[in-house]
C-alpha cells in the first residue's frame, strides 16, 4: 500500500498503480483522451496533467506510478495551466464542426473545454485541412480525420482487443492523420466499439448518423438479449420529442461497463440488434383466428376476453394432449410463472424450451454460440432434465397428430423444423397459441396470437451462461396492444383459479428465490447494476 494525498485528502492505494487509477478510485474528475482503462497506456494526448509536489514540472497522471508520500494536485493553478495549454494545442487543428457533428453533446473536447478551456486563445495560425472530410471506413463506422486529436485509442483497440490491426497514424507533425491501413476496411465483429472509445467525433456510428442529437436521448440500463453472454448495455431511446421518427423509439445501444461480463465492449450483432424492438412487432392486440382478423374483417378482441377464452380452454384441456414450448428468451420471472401455471398447476407433462439447430457463431471473446439470453435460467427454473429440454420430441409428436393443443412462446417452428413441419403441425393440432413480441410464420398461422412486450418494455432478470443473474429494465411502455408476458400470465393464473398474489417482477423473483435453491438469497437489490452469480 502507498499512502498518497490527492487534492488535500489522504488515500491509501495499491502499490504500482498509476496516478490516474488512484484518481479514478478517489472519484475525482480529471480530463483524459488517450487513457482508457481497457487499453495500454499511450500517454500521447498529455491532457491529464497533474502537479506532484517536489517535482519540477507537472506530469501526466496516466503514465506516472504512485509512490509513498506522493502529494498530487489535480486542480491547482499549475495543473490547470498545463491542462489548458495542452487543450489549446489539441484544438489547434480541430474544426468548428459541432453543429453537424454527431458526437456533439457527448464530446470530451466540448466537456473539457468547459472545464479547462483557455477562453482567450493565443493560437491564430490557419487550421491544417486534411485531405478527405467524412467518409465511411467500413459497414459501421464513419471517419472524419479533421476531428481526430490522434489519441490513438482506436489504433490500440485494433491492436490489443480485436487484434485486427485496422488503424494507423499516417504522415508526420500537424499533417498526421488517422486512417485504416491501405486496402483495408474496418470490418470486424467488434468494430462499433471504436465509435464509443473515440473521445471526439472522428469515428462515429453510421447506424446512428444524423438520426438524433444525443441530448434528446433517454437512457435505461439493460442486458443484451443477443446471446447467452448477457453483455450489459444502455438502451438509448427517444425521450423528449415524441413527434420525432414516429415509429422508432430505440435509437442505439451502448455497452455498459461490467468487468465480470463484457468489460467495456459489445459485439456489433448485439449493438445493432435493437431493430426488432420497433420493427416487425405484433401490434394489433391479441388475435383470435389470426388470419381472419388480420384482413380486418372483425374488431380485435380485448385481452380480457382472450384470456378468459384461453383459461376456459386450458381448464378443459387434457394435460397429456397439450404442450408448452417455453422460451429461453423470457425472463426468469416469466419462466417461473410458466412453471407454476403449466407444470405445477395444470400438470402438463410436455414442457420444453430448447430449440435445436439455432446455434450461431462463437468466438473466444464475447460472442456465445447459444443465441438465447436465458437458457441457463430456463433450465434452472423449469428443471426438466437435459434430454427433456429439447422441443423436438414434442414437435414430432405434434406432427404425428398426438397433440390437441400447443402453446408456443416466441419460437418460430418454421425456422426450427422447416415450413413443411409447421404446415403439418398446423393441420394436426387443433389449437395453436402463439405468444411473442415479433411476427413470424408461426404467429401467422396460429389460432390465438398474444402480442408480448419486448425486453426493452418490461422489468425482469436474465441468467447468463455462467449463471450470472442480471436485470433488464423497462425503458418505455409496451407498444399498443401488447402486454408483458409476466403481466398476462399473472392474469391468466387468476382466471385459472390460482392464488398468485404477486404485484410485479420483483415480487415474482422473491417467490422464485424462496422456492428455488439456485436463486436462494437473491433479490433485485442484491443483483443491482452488475448482476449476481447463482448459487451452484
Amino acid at each position: 500500500m502507498a499512502n498518497i494525498t490527492i487534492d488535500g485528502k489522504p488515500y491509501a492505494v495499491k502499490d504500482g498503480i498509476t496516478v490516474i487509477q488512484a484518481i479514478d478510485e478517489a472519484k475525482i474528475d480529471l480530463p483524459r483522451y488517450c487513457y482508457h482503462p481497457g487499453l495500454s497506456i499511450a500517454g500521447n494526448c498529455r491532457i491529464c496533467q497533474v502537479e506532484v509536489e517536489k517535482l519540477p514540472r507537472s506530469v501526466i497522471a496516466c503514465n506516472t506510478r504512485v509512490a509513498e508520500g506522493m502529494v498530487i494536485h489535480t486542480k491547482s493553478p499549475k495543473a490547470r495551466e498545463s491542462q489548458q495549454a495542452v487543450l489549446e494545442f489539441l484544438l489547434a487543428n480541430h474544426p468548428l464542426d459541432c453543429p453537424v457533428c454527431d458526437q456533439a453533446g457527448e464530446c470530451k473536447l466540448q466537456d473539457y473545454y468547459m472545464e479547462v478551456g483557455l477562453y482567450d486563445p493565443k493560437f491564430d495560425d490557419r487550421k491544417v485541412k486534411k485531405t478527405k472530410k467524412a467518409f465511411p471506413i467500413g459497414p459501421t463506422i464513419m471517419l472524419d480525420q479533421e476531428r481526430c486529436i490522434l489519441c490513438s485509442r482506436c489504433v490500440r483497440f485494433g491492436d490489443e482487443i480485436t487484434r485486427t490491426h485496422d488503424f494507423g497514424i499516417f504522415n508526420r507533425g500537424d499533417r498526421s492523420e488517422i486512417d485504416v491501413c491501405p486496402g483495408k476496411e474496418l470490418d470486424n465483429k467488434y468494430s462499433g466499439n471504436v465509435a464509443d472509445i473515440c473521445p471526439v467525433g472522428a469515428l462515429t456510428d453510421r447506424d446512428f448518423r444524423f438520426k438524433m442529437r444525443v441530448w434528446y436521448l433517454g437512457s435505461q440500463k439493460s442486458v443484451c438479449p443477443g446471446c447467452s453472454r448477457g453483455c450489459n448495455i444502455e438502451i438509448h431511446y427517444e425521450k423528449s420529442r415524441p413527434y420525432h421518427l414516429k415509429k422508432e423509439r430505440v435509437m442505439r445501444l451502448k455497452p455498459r461497463e461490467n468487468q465480470a461480463v463484457n468489460r467495456w465492449w459489445i459485439c456489433d450483432a448485439g449493438r445493432y440488434g435493437y431493430k426488432s424492438i420497433d420493427h416487425g412487432r405484433l401490434v394489433e392486440g391479441p388475435l383470435v383466428g389470426a388470419q381472419m382478423n388480420r384482413a380486418g374483417t372483425r374488431p380485435a378482441p380485448t385481452w380480457t376476453s382472450v384470456l378468459e377464452n384461453l383459461a376456459g380452454i386450458f381448464k378443459k384441456a387434457d394435460p397429456a394432449a397439450w404442450a408448452v414450448f417455453a422460451s429461453p428468451r423470457h425472463t426468469n420471472e416469466e419462466l417461473y410463472l410458466v412453471k407454476r401455471i403449466f407444470l405445477d398447476h395444470l400438470k402438463w407433462g410436455q414442457v420444453a424450451f430448447h430449440a435445436p439447430g439455432q446455434e450461431g457463431d462463437e468466438d473466444d471473446f464475447l460472442i456465445r454460440k447459444d443465441k438465447n439470453p436465458n437458457s441457463t435460467g430456463a433450465s434452472r427454473i423449469l428443471r426438466l432434465g437435459k434430454p427433456d429440454e429439447d422441443i423436438t420430441p414434442i414437435l414430432e409428436k405434434a406432427r404425428r397428430g398426438g397433440l390437441e393443443g400447443l402453446l408456443v412462446f416466441g419460437h418460430d417452428l418454421a425456422g426450427i423444423a422447416g415450413p413443411q413441419t409447421l404446415e403439418t403441425v398446423r393441420q394436426k393440432v387443433k389449437t395453436l397459441v402463439f405468444e411473442g413480441p415479433n411476427d413470424n410464420p408461426t404467429a401467422a398461422v396460429a389460432d390465438i396470437v398474444l402480442p408480448a412486450a419486448s425486453y426493452a418494455e418490461k422489468e425482469g432478470t436474465f441468467t447468463n451462461f455462467e449463471g450470472r443473474v442480471q436485470r433488464i429494465r423497462k425503458a418505455f411502455e409496451p407498444v399498443s396492444g401488447s402486454l408483458a408476458t409476466w403481466d398476462w400470465l399473472l392474469n391468466l393464473s387468476g382466471l385459472l383459479g390460482m392464488s398468485l398474489k404477486h404485484r410485479g417482477p420483483e415480487d415474482i423473483f422473491e417467490a422464485l428465490a424462496g422456492e428455488n435453491e439456485f436463486f436462494k438469497g437473491l433479490n433485485y437489490k442484491k443483483i443491482g447494476d452488475q448482476g449476481c452469480l447463482l448459487n451452484s
Binding site: D97, C98, P99, V100, A104, K132, K133, A134, F135, R209, F210, K211, R213, W215, Y216, R241, Y243, H244, L245
Partner: protein, 169 residues
C-alpha cells in the same frame, strides 16, 4: 397559503346617482372625438401643424411602420446555389420553448457541409415568436424578418410551414 384581503371600494353618492356619471363619460368621449375632428380638419387645410391628432391606420390598405427588429414570420436563408443554409444541427428545435420546430436531418452530397435538413417543419400555431431560434442559429439560417404579420388559416394544418414555404416566404 397566505391570504390577502382586498377591500372593495364602496360606491360613493356620486357613483350611485348613475346617470350623471354616464353623462360625464359621454362628455369625455365626445370631447376627444370633436377635438380630433377639428385638428384633422385643420391639418387638411394646412393649419395648426403643431397640434397632434389621434392617429388611425386604414389597415389593411395602410400598414403601420414596423421597427427594424420586429420579429415577424420566419424564413430559411439560402446558399448561393439556392439550397438551404440550414445544417440541421437542431439548435433551434432544442431551444424552442413552444416545441414548434421539427427537423429531420439527412446527408448532404457535399462532404464539406455533411448535413442538411430533409424536412423542416414549423407550426406557426404553436410558435410564440420569442426569436430564440434566430438567436441560437450558428449558420444564420433562420431569420424572422419577412415582415409578414397577417398569418391566418382556416385549420390548424394551415398554420404549419414546411421547408418550401420557409425558403420562399
Amino acid at each position: 397559503m397566505a391570504t390577502k384581503i382586498i377591500k372593495r371600494k364602496e360606491l360613493g353618492f356620486w357613483d350611485r346617482t348613475y346617470l350623471p356619471a354616464v353623462g360625464l363619460g359621454l362628455w369625455i368621449t365626445s370631447r376627444h372625438f370633436f377635438r380630433n375632428m377639428a385638428v384633422h380638419a385643420l391639418h387638411l387645410f394646412g393649419f395648426a401643424k403643431n397640434l397632434r391628432g389621434a392617429e388611425t391606420y386604414q389597415y389593411p390598405e395602410e400598414q403601420r411602420p414596423l421597427s427594424k427588429r420586429t420579429r415577424t414570420r420566419h424564413r430559411l436563408t439560402k446558399r448561393e446555389d439556392g439550397s438551404p443554409r440550414c445544417v440541421a444541427c437542431m439548435m433551434c428545435e432544442t431551444v424552442c420553448p413552444a416545441r414548434c420546430i421539427n427537423i429531420v436531418a439527412k446527408e448532404n452530397p457535399d462532404p464539406n457541409i455533411e448535413k442538411m435538413p430533409a424536412s423542416f417543419d414549423l407550426d406557426l400555431g404553436m410558435c410564440v415568436y420569442c426569436g430564440y431560434c434566430v438567436e441560437v442559429c450558428p449558420e444564420d439560417a433562420i431569420r424572422m424578418d419577412t415582415r409578414i404579420l397577417d398569418i391566418a388559416a382556416y385549420s390548424r394544418e394551415g398554420m404549419k410551414l414546411d421547408m418550401q414555404k420557409l425558403l420562399n416566404p
